[in-house]
């Protein structure tokens, strides 16, 4: 049984939650856990739940070319049975490059990983409508794990494990990191609100957002949204909940016309109470919601707003 190599993900000098989730998950599998970190040495003190850390000086900021090359070098050094990355923008890129360069089997969108001789991963595909179990063989292999698939606390432990260094391999230098672009100062911080009224594709048109805003006002809530609304430019990026948006944990999350794609669920499924209103009774949002109503959202929202006033 080989080691499990976990990619520690960081942005702007801070470790991402997914790092702890992956370490916790890897520990549960019973193998020895090695973390790879490409950035600053300062973060290693938080990786106490790993038994070893391999560091490559690949620059403080993520770059697919340098971090990809560094990960390949570390994989050669560790010779792991499984490499776990986050299913994020960075993690996916690393998982795919490693798999392609080393010809190691890969499973993405994984929510569960098990090792029983062979490594198996369970992935949620087609908007969560299909669950696939992939057999990746006995290893080495790569799995990209959806954020929130394991509790972060299990892998969060202060302490500095043994650190090994691997030299940064030469690269062609074709990708240059220029800068981070921070979002324009958000009008509302949806991560700090107790109540969120979130809208999705079902809202239909930009003008109809008003209906949600009125409900939000009545509840002293903020309006959040799923990706289609942001892509359409109807609300600023700072209101986006989900994989590429923000992760929120309000006391109450009201989902209006949101079908519940896995990318969205990732950002809100830990809310204390979720109420979903959708006209499609088969919408996956009803699986994570605590309360649901199958109805035309406009009818309900207008009536609800009136009832609250």
């Amino acid at each position: 049984m080989g080691d499990i190599l976990v990619v520690a993900e960081h942005l702007n000098g801070a470790l991402d939650e997914s790092t702890f989730e992956l370490i916790g998950m890897a520990n549960d599998l019973g193998n020895s856990v090695v973390a790879f970190i490409g950035g600053s040495d300062d973060m290693i003190g938080q990786l106490g739940a790993a038994s070893k850390v391999v560091r490559v000086d690949a620059g403080a900021d993520f770059n697919p070319e340098t971090y990809g090359a560094a990960l390949v070098a570390v994989a050669d050094h560790v010779n792991p049975q499984v490499v776990l990355t986050s299913g994020s923008s960075m993690g996916m890129e690393l998982a795919n490059m490693l798999s392609a360069q080393k010809s190691w089997p890969l499973a993405v969108a994984a929510t569960k990983v098990s090792i029983d001789g062979d490594v198996k991963a369970e992935s949620a595909l087609f908007g969560g409508k299909i669950i696939a179990t992939t057999n990746l063989g006995s290893g080495p292999c790569v799995v990209a794990v959806v954020a929130g698939s394991a509790p972060a606390d299990a892998g969060r432990k202060d302490g500095r494990p043994a650190v090994e260094s691997v030299d940064m391999p030469a690269t062609a230098g074709k990708v240059t990191f220029k800068k981070l672009i921070m979002p324009e100062s958000a009008d509302v911080d949806i991560t700090t609100k107790d109540v969120l009224v979130a809208i999705g594709r079902g809202i239909g048109s930009k003008d109809d957002i008003e209906v949600a805003e009125e409900l939000a006002e009545a509840l002293d809530a903020a309006v959040a949204a799923s990706r289609p609304i942001i892509d359409a430019g109807w609300l600023p990026k700072s209101r986006q909940v989900g994989k590429s948006g923000l992760k929120v944990k309000p006391k109450l999350y009201i989902a209006l016309g949101i079908s519940g794609a896995p990318e969205h669920l990732e950002g809100m499924k830990n809310s204390s109470t979720i109420i979903a209103i959708n006209s499609d009774k088969n919408a996956p949002i009803f699986d994570v919601a605590h309360y649901g109503m199958v109805a035309d959202l406009f009818d309900v929202v207008e009536e609800l707003t009136e009832a609250l006033d």
């Binding site: 890129e93 089997p105 993405v108 299909i130 220029k178 958000a186 590429s244 009832a307």
Partner: protein, 248 residues
Amino acid sequence: MKIVVPLKQVPDLVEDLELNDEGTGLDYEYLKMKLNEWDDHALEEALQIKEGGSAEVIAVAVDGEDVDKMLYTALAKGADKAVKITGANPYADNQELARVLANAISGMGADLVLVGVQSAGDRDGWLAPILATHLNMPTVSVVTGLEVNDGTATVHKEYSGGIMAEFDVALPAVIGVQAARQTPRYAPVSKVRQIQQSASIEEMAAGDVGDVVTSTVEEMRHPEKSGGARILSSVDEIVEVLKEKGVV
């Protein structure tokens, strides 16, 4: 500048997905296939670059049902050339598809390969970074902003929370497009029909795909419905819940 855009067909989720008898894959017989929506963004971005300066846009797809229509639609939208790869598995996962596409694209002299960053059925990887490795090109994925100048693409890669990173990528490169600068355009049916009469689709044999990184699907299933939501039937009941939770 030459921009190659691989277009992939994916099952249309408007239909219920049915599984094969073995429970190891989809039953494709009754599935309706459609263009992967992220690929539509990649195509739109390519057309935007073309319209903002000059570029030749080549759409490439593996032959399959309704693929001609998909390629003619790409031509109607403004692509300059459409190439159909014959003799390959139309339902291939990305590891295999990347091999097929790498064979086809390597001789095209592409300066830029724009790929939809993901598709709904991605199980064994993302197309862009795997394809880039086979083509030996640099790559960045989850890109929402793209500008090309003198052999360099300046891209914005999206992280969570609205944070983005800017990279310069030396061309030729493979970019995984998350969103085009504007909503993908609509191709009027009459234009598609007109193109069908006047334009032609180039064919190219898939050839030997070589070694593909394999993984086995042991099982595919529909998720069991969890306890799910308690279904409320009136607004009054919602108000009750809000009171119970101390929100009002």
